[in-house]
Symmetry: D2
């Protein structure tokens, strides 16, 4: 059994980690870390866990935890892990960080977008960006996994094969994303009250959202050149789910025509055909967040618009599963040489 | 492996059966029966099942199915099974009926409330009412299990111990129940459109809802006398969940005082303390449907009102799991001598 | 033009007052009072008011305000007005208090349920409980109107004629109420976050909710004897609306039979037939909150259950309109001798 | 008083017309036309209208209606009005058509996107596209007003000044739109059931939605050249509201720099500064559908992304008001020489 510690177990992503790990055959949670609820019953904070989790919440003593745990998940605010992580801790336990602290290789970019001084840039270089479908082999070998953000997982996976294969002009890429409200966390903020979110939709962080550089860095690497894109998140009155609608201009073929649906499909299949958690939908079926809710799936599809020469790519996932805790477990499985889908064979819940 | 057939696999309850059985170690679905979608891909009807269910929908040829399957779940409209079930079919496969056809022992009562002539009253007598917590031993031995309704499961379990022990006056029992909209089914009806249900709450079937006699029959048996109660369901703008708020006058003790919280709690614990799917909450914690969503749990608690001498009992469950498919699987486990919680160790999904 | 001041203009009820008063032909808001947002643009706090309200928020200097305003609405927390109101203030401006401070005549009861020492009990005696349908003439003459709570307005109006006429046994009255989330206010509390309320229903304040004594005092007066009842509120995932489902045992007539629907209906019509804001629905139509949303209507109906001898009464209203701001405006109209429905001829918004 | 007839009064847009016209000082509804509910009480179909509308539903006898009414609103399916409208009818009553039948001047384009043969193309030429902010003077003079669609009103108004002034490259325009579910109508369709829409978001009509050519025709006229754009609608789990997020590449100024926020703002102000129903938000405030709900406002704002050289424009409106019935009333006001905002001074409802 892998001994697991969670720092930030009382946020929504942390609680989803608990949900998934409770059902994981090879994992055992030994530490429910929480800043706000130390010494309280975990099941009093998340009453769905009543009779399932008898443990009290503990604090964030990483040194003590690293002695006990084989792997530590940090579902913590930006700036936490980068200020406390050390090589010594890493020598004792593997880390899977759900914050952005080790996601962006370019320290200057991180510091600019997050407004946080990065105290451990040397560790950044050994961190592996934990998007399993793109970096499976590296993840298997790392001890510091930077688990991608919810918007970024969806945005990158949806466009990646076409960027990588040069089928779209990467400078035309526009990502219009829609998220359920659990992505905003469990903190008591007026803007996230039921009555403020319900019956409402809005964009936020327009041209400034911090997932932008993360998406850009990954897709730039795929494109083989630096790209800048537009990423606009929207808040949707639902608990879970992210839908990314992505627009890009298709590159014409040598004969001046656009690639066909079949050609594009073949590329997606080449990249994702064997992926356990990516479902390429049939022509005409648009991804819907409800169809993946509660599961680790990403549903992807696209439409070619002959009139404008653009492709509209769409991806849907559950922000707390494939967009956070599920992906973190998938990374843990890779890092501990377990079947990649262990604990993640979750059938989407409908309705 | 138990071979399972489902008639009515494309309703919400049928689809939930599919979700649960796909994750059941000892069950294998061999027949996805559907009236409306014969020969269509099941996963085209429920796209959460894409890549999980490759099967086509079949019809409702029970004779053919009974040859293939060890157990047949019928998640069908009232009046279906009672018109086609025979002893011969029952000799070939076990039946778990999610409709009301075999739930009410008193044929006259069934016929009055449902307005349907019961064609197979002789089978009714061998049917066992499948509320596992009350009739575990009988269920193990039956070949025809009448799976209780969603409202009834919640309503009965919440009040049962107190009725049985004579702690409340059964003639004062009033059940005010609230249900998510999946209980209304997937049929295209104007009244169930998003815009009609959203931002709205209403009572329906007031004094006439057909779950009333089912609750009455079970609780009358517990009370040892015939009782009539009020049951009022309400439609709540959410997908899943049933909350029953139940009111009754407490019987005073010999010394003229009301029973204490501890005394009532002790009774609940005696009945449910070892039940795998009933969680008796701590004093002061009210059941909430969200805390059991996606799981087979019923959360139960109560408050004594010294001022009025009444007790307010509350129970919450997921109408598609413990209120339908989960309970049906629990019954199947009992009927096939499997661990009762097999395939049902579901952690509630939050948020 | 009546000059209006609002203390607590930035809560949900205060904002609804603003919405209604902006459209009122004879009222002009001269003071947007707010504790948290002094000197900020009101329209920055409630952006629906952009270009409609150019004013800044002011504080709660009642002395200054009483010089300026003809009427002062206080949509403030319990305990505010009772600690600052004086006869001098009342001599300068009329007060309509949306808190509970002057609703309950029995100081001891107020202090027990609210845990607040009542500092101005002498003013309590001159306060009039502002349920227009019951106390129209008194309201016209008062200068201190205690505007009823949302749950109480709905609960009382639904049962009042039958209690008053002795048609039901008042000791059997049970009120199961359901409320939208705006009733919980705009304060940033975890329990009111979108993800905590959405897809969820729960009871709260069971046997202890502070609207109980208010309902009891009014209905006791109607019954001509002290009664105790059960009142159980539930939180529903919707913005607005209250539905009260009320149960009581019908008193039999001299001949031992239950009153008929026609007889009960006649009583309701006698009390409410000419009321501008009470709609008595036709037999078979259940009140739904959506049908009154945004308006000052209360929809009322009932069902007689011959089997149990009980009547189930139901009332629906918009908690922010008839349950708060609309009723307050209705009271203002009465107090200033304006047509009672001025500014309140609001057509319910659907969907 | 203007005598008004409504054909299609029992759809959501028709019902919203009723809501608005009931409060309109100069209009009186004389005909509630409905295909499905002839001879039924209108208030039985829309119970919010109980006691407000005593009328029965009538059919669609346009000849009889044209004798009675001064203006006829047709809130009917595509293809209805174009098949029945005649010059004679137009000589008797003015028409405001909420369908697409007379919106697109290019008959071939209409027929291609709608798959309907246009039987009265000669009338098309006298029809005026009823986007009041763009064609106020023409609307005043017409007797056939083609009321714009909900998506199109939002999409066009949001981008129009920048297209017209050549500030953006019109060939780069991408419109990602989000709509509440009332836009899908009141027809009983499985895909619009509560449980299918709730907790879900999806794109639909990708690259094929019929509002596309309408937007293109209007913006092409503004651009002075034919443009093709991408328009992608999404279904959001809320009743009302449309948010359009629009992306375009800014044209650089002669000095090679991008226009500044102030420069763009000045253009918007020049076009819309005096518009009664367009609110240009302050920098940093994003349009939210909730802030305009129930009102005739469009809230508009934009963000310049220096990194990509694009502008992100956003517009929000209530699809049933400014996106349908409100705009239709605004058109009626213009056509009958009434104050443009008569009956439309609606304060947005929040929450």
């Amino acid at each position: 059994m892998i001994k697991v510690g969670i720092i930030g177990a009382t946020g929504y992503a942390g609680a989803e980690l608990v949900r998934l790990l409770l059902a994981h055959e090879e994992a055992e949670i030994v530490w429910y870390g929480s800043k706000s609820y130390i010494d309280q019953n975990y099941a009093d904070i998340y009453r769905n866990m009543f009779r399932l989790v008898p443990d009290l919440c503990k604090g964030d003593d990483l040194n003590a935890l690293a002695e006990e745990a084989d792997v530590i998940f940090t579902a913590t605010p930006q700036g936490y892990l980068l200020s406390v992580l050390t090589k010594e801790l890493l020598s004792k336990a593997k880390f899977i960080d759900l914050s952005a602290d080790y996601r962006i290789k370019d320290v200057a970019v991180y510091e600019k977008w997050y407004g946080i001084h990065h105290e451990t840039p040397e560790l950044l270089q050994e961190a592996v960006y934990g998007l399993c479908e793109l970096r499976r082999e590296e993840i298997k070998k790392t001890r510091l996994c930077a688990n991608p953000g919810c918007f970024t997982t969806c945005s990158i996976l949806t466009a990646y094969p076409l960027v990588k294969e040069g089928l779209i002009d990467p400078d035309t890429l526009i990502i219009d994303a829609k998220s359920g409200t659990s992505g905003a966390g469990r903190g008591a903020k007026q803007q996230n009250l039921f009555c403020e979110v319900n019956e409402n939709i809005k964009a936020y962080g327009v041209a400034t959202h911090r997932h932008t550089p993360e998406i850009e860095e990954q897709l730039s690497e795929a494109a083989g050149k630096k790209l800048a894109l537009n990423f606009t998140p929207h808040l949707v009155p639902m608990n879970r789910g992210i839908l990314a609608t992505e627009y890009a201009t298709l590159r014409k073929k040598a004969d001046g025509t656009l690639p066909t649906r079949e050609e594009i499909e073949a590329v997606y299949k080449r990249y994702y055909g064997n992926e356990p958690f990516i479902r390429l939908l049939k022509a005409g079926e648009m991804p819907e967040t409800k169809w993946v809710e509660g599961s680790n799936y990403v549903d992807i599809n696209f439409v070619i618009d002959e009139r404008t020469g653009r492709i509209i790519m769409m991806g849907a996932l559950d922000n707390l599963v494939k967009g956070a805790a599920g992906q973190a477990v998938q990374n843990m499985n890779l890092m501990f040489d377990l079947p990649e889908d262990m604990g993640l064979r979750l059938v989407p819940v409908f309705p």
